[in-house]
């Protein structure tokens, strides 16, 4: 009997990278028509496991059975032949080309354009996916781009669809739409393997979950029954630390004032900032919500000083600093930490000690007259490692040897131990495991508690709502009116994230397919 309902069966999958066991005897079973969650911290081995299933990497040991037959998947192409599709976190799309052209390029076998168009239109209609196939990709929202990837998979009529953290870039409405599509797919017998950090959505979507920790399966559960807290604890193998938020903080005066900040962009698909105004007060955490690519990156660069602005557009404790370069801003007390850890917030091949020099040399006097103070540099790195419990072999370990969460703790710690008057952070817990995320959030709350202003740019609404006092929503280079956390509803924020402009686009796309 089990033979007929089991679609994918893994037993004893093991994969080693150097000294790290990424997968250690992983076994799991996914049945037909099931949405199965794969959850675990960063570095737990989820990505490695699905890459093995999809043929991107080969297991060192273990067996994979698909539809009852023992298979060895040597490439993604072979996986697709078997009926396995995967939607990656990062899309492979050509922005200047249309949706249909992008789909045609991704096909294993070249298909007649008209026939392809018919098939794509049929799939979009069948799954009620709003998408205009003749639009150029650079005009599409992230949710629409993801739909292209999904359509690519559906064209292969997959028996197993792997989704790698699909909602990390979606608005709540777009995520709901995705869930509808996945449920429909499952009802037709397709198996969905769903990777996510967000326990609430796994609860809403999945009937069974496999939990990974340190490359091993540590549990199976029915997420509909377990509490998110219990699942999170299984994931990190320890009692989850609560973020202590000092309720009823009374913010002081304005520390950072941004007034009518407009910045044009020279990137081909960058976002122009238009008359951004806000102020961050002492002792508060100010959130900037929004879907990626709506100007957050440009705002970060303008605040850190990597792009210059008119001097009076950015004022720190009253002083006009908009035209100053990053070191001068840091000296005055404004530290900024960009989203990308690798080769932006830190140099991957440099040691942790050398990485302190990047942004802490001014405030921590790590150099004198142009000569590096090696001892001071190492000491500071060690202080950060100790204070933030960074798991590493020491100050001389290269940054790239750390896991994502640990490197993130290090760079956040590097800024926070400088006690900046204003700290701007972009997605500080993105792709970071639950334990590290909690530690980082706590550190931000504590910094604000000591009287600094913290500006938190994030796409994680739960994070923003649990940490921030007030928040703005960013859409297409503009800021919404300020919302007081506790008064604004998720629906309202979601609508602001989509923007009025996005809504009309969707209505337009729907109209196109209603023939």
């Amino acid at each position: 009997m089990a033979e007929t309902t089991t679609r994918l069966e893994l037993s004893g999958i093991t994969k080693r990278f150097g000294e790290v066991l990424a997968n250690d005897g992983v076994s799991l079973v996914a049945r037909k028509g099931e949405i199965k969650a794969l959850i675990g911290e960063n570095g737990a081995g989820k990505s490695t496991l699905v890459k093995i299933i999809y043929g991107v990497q080969q297991a060192d040991a273990g067996e994979m059975r698909f539809e009852g037959a023992h298979v060895v998947v040597t490439s993604p192409r072979a996986a697709r032949k078997l009926g396995i599709g995967m939607v990656f976190q990062h899309f492979s799309l050509f922005e200047p080309m249309t949706v249909l052209e992008n789909i045609a390029i991704g096909m294993d076998q070249a298909l007649d354009r008209r026939k392809l168009e018919r098939e794509v239109t049929a799939i979009l209609a069948a799954y009620a996916l709003p998408l205009d196939i003749h639009r150029h990709v650079d005009t599409l929202s992230v949710g629409e781009r993801q739909r292209i990837e999904i359509v690519r998979c559906l064209l292969q009529k997959p028996k197993l669809l792997i989704m790698d953290e699909p909602t990390s870039v979606l608005t709540p409405q777009e995520a709901d739409q995705l869930f509808d599509t996945l449920r429909k797919l499952a009802s037709e017998g397709c198996t969905v393997l769903y990777i996510s950090h967000k326990l609430n959505e796994i609860k809403a979507l999945c009937a069974s979950a496999t939990i990974l920790r340190g490359g091993r399966v540590v549990g199976e559960c029915d997420p509909r029954i377990e509490t998110p807290r219990r699942i999170a604890e299984m994931m990190i193998g320890a009692e989850l630390a609560h973020v202590e938020r000092a309720r009823g903080r009374t913010p002081g005066g304005a520390r950072l004032v941004v007034e009518r900040l407009s910045v044009s962009t020279d990137e081909p698909f960058g976002t122009k900032l238009e008359a951004i105004s806000f102020e961050a007060r002492a002792g508060e955490i100010l959130g900037i919500a929004g879907v990626a690519g709506n100007g957050q990156k440009e705002l970060m660069l303008a605040l850190s000083g990597e792009t210059a602005a008119p001097a009076r557009a950015v004022r720190l404790d009253g002083a006009a600093i908009g035209s100053l370069p990053p070191p001068a801003r840091r000296k005055r007390g404004l530290c900024a930490l960009p989203e990308e850890r690798n080769d932006h917030a830190a140099v991957a091949t440099f040691s942790l000690a050398e990485n302190t020099l990047l942004t802490a040399r001014e405030r921590k006097a790590l150099s004198a007259k142009g000569v590096i103070k090696t001892g001071a540099m190492r000491d500071y790195a060690r202080r950060v490692i100790d204070a933030f419990k960074v798991a590493t072999t020491g100050a001389d370990a290269p940054a790239r040897s750390l896991s994502g969460g640990n490197l993130q703790k290090f760079v956040v710690g590097r800024e926070i131990l400088q006690e900046p008057q204003v700290l701007v952070v972009d997605q500080p817990t993105w792709g970071v495991d639950a334990g590290a995320a909690a530690a980082i959030r706590q550190a931000l709350v504590d910094l604000a508690g000591r009287g600094s202003a913290v500006i938190l740019v994030s796409q994680d609404l739960d994070e923003l709502l649990s940490l921030c006092d007030r928040l703005y929503v960013m859409n297409d280079g503009r800021l919404s009116r300020p919302l007081t956390v506790g008064e604004a509803s998720i629906e309202e924020i979601g609508l602001l994230m989509g923007g009025v402009h996005g809504q009309t686009d969707k209505a337009h796309a729907r109209g196109d397919h209603a023939h």
Binding site: G55, D343, A348
Partner: protein
């Protein structure tokens, strides 16, 4: 079956430093086979090229003198390469440095003073730096690739040299030979060791290497160069200007090339002649990579290449090897180094091209 290169997760430091050694070993091996096939005693010839000069102490000053300009130029180039600034025109800066220094020499002809030689050296530094500033400005202002402009300016520098020695700077008592007057005593690099070619330029090279090592590993400027080369975004966050780094590294590499040019001109030739540029500026590129773009490594790489120069001279007389063998050996060294480097960074994977269903 397909052959694929996959990036290695981690590179071992042993492989990184072993690569130049492996490249030299492969060069020796290939040289041996090649020379044997050409009808020479391959083993003996390769021994003469790579080993013999090192065994004979009386050759050591020659190696030092030969290595000196190579190391000095390569030290500057390596700094630029670290920042992804590809100055391929060191040969041109070398020539212009010599021209600038010679200009001072001709202007101070017959003047005796301790300051004459330092002034010549200073002029050569400024000359080389100025010549390198042209591609730097073109890259910064107009985004023109410095690879092309610096290389092309080499040929402009050569023509300038030919013009000067045939025209305004020709030795009035030189029987119309296209060369300048001989430099006088105050304009010549002092000799360090009686009876050898060893001159003070070798000391200047060693000083340059030590300063470069200190700057690259212990100062913010060196940090800036490395960050700009490795992670331009991180450099911006750190507040390091890419443009300033391009300018700084081009000026430094040009200055060192110019200085090497004048030293060679003054110490070895004693005058400016069209024969003096012998592609040290290009050979130094090989030295920089052999030395892993590290000042101390460059010193070792320079000695290795200088040895092969001296050794090729021995092999020419002893084994009747053609002169082209020198160029062949150098080209093979770079070829094998680049090849071995690919294997240090990547690994070769053989993989079947289609899915297999196991029985």
């Amino acid at each position: 079956m397909r052959i694929r290169l996959e990036p290695r997760k981690a590179q071992s430091p042993a492989a990184l430093y072993g690569a130049p050694v492996a490249a030299i070993a492969l060069t020796m091996l290939t040289g041996m086979v090649l020379f044997t096939l050409m009808g020479f005693r391959g083993g003996t010839a390769v021994f003469e090229i790579f080993i013999e000069p090192l065994l004979e102490p009386e050759r050591w000053p020659d190696i030092a003198v030969k290595a000196s300009p190579l190391v000095m130029i390569a030290t500057g180039l390596a700094i630029g390469f670290r920042a992804n600034v590809w100055n391929i025109g060191a040969e041109g800066q070398y020539i212009v440095g010599a021209i600038a220094g010679t200009g001072v020499a001709l202007a101070t002809y017959g003047v005796d003073g301790w300051w004459v030689l330092p002034l010549m050296l200073l002029a050569s530094i400024i000359g080389g730096a100025a010549w390198a500033a042209i591609p730097a400005i073109l890259r910064i202002r107009l985004k023109v690739s410095e690879i092309l402009t610096s290389l092309m300016l080499t040929y402009v520098a050569l023509q300038l040299l030919y013009y000067l020695v045939r025209g305004p700077w020709r030795d009035p008592e030189g029987y119309n030979f296209p060369q300048t007057r001989m430099f006088d005593e105050a304009q010549t690099m002092p000799n360090l060791l009686e009876g050898t070619q060893l001159h003070a330029g070798v000391l200047l090279t060693l000083i340059a290497v030590l300063i470069a090592w200190f700057v690259m590993s212990r100062t913010l400027s060196g940090y800036q160069v490395r960050v700009v080369g490795l992670a331009p975004m991180a450099a911006r966050l750190g507040g390091f200007s890419e443009k300033r780094t391009v300018m700084m590294t081009m000026l430094v590499s040009g200055a060192l090339a110019g200085l090497a040019g004048l030293i060679e001109c003054s110490a070895t030739f004693g005058q400016l002649t069209p024969q003096f540029p012998v592609n040290y500026g290009f050979t130094a590129i090989i030295v920089a990579f052999l030395g892993r773009l590290h000042p101390i490594g460059v010193l070792v790489g320079g000695v290795a290449l200088a040895t092969s120069y001296i050794g090729a001279d021995i092999a020419q007389t002893a084994s009747a090897l053609p002169q082209a063998a020198t160029g062949l050996i150098q080209a093979m060294m770079l070829f094998f180094l680049l090849g071995v480097d690919i294997l240090v960074v990547n690994r070769v994977r053989l993989r079947p091209s289609l899915a297999q269903h196991a029985p």
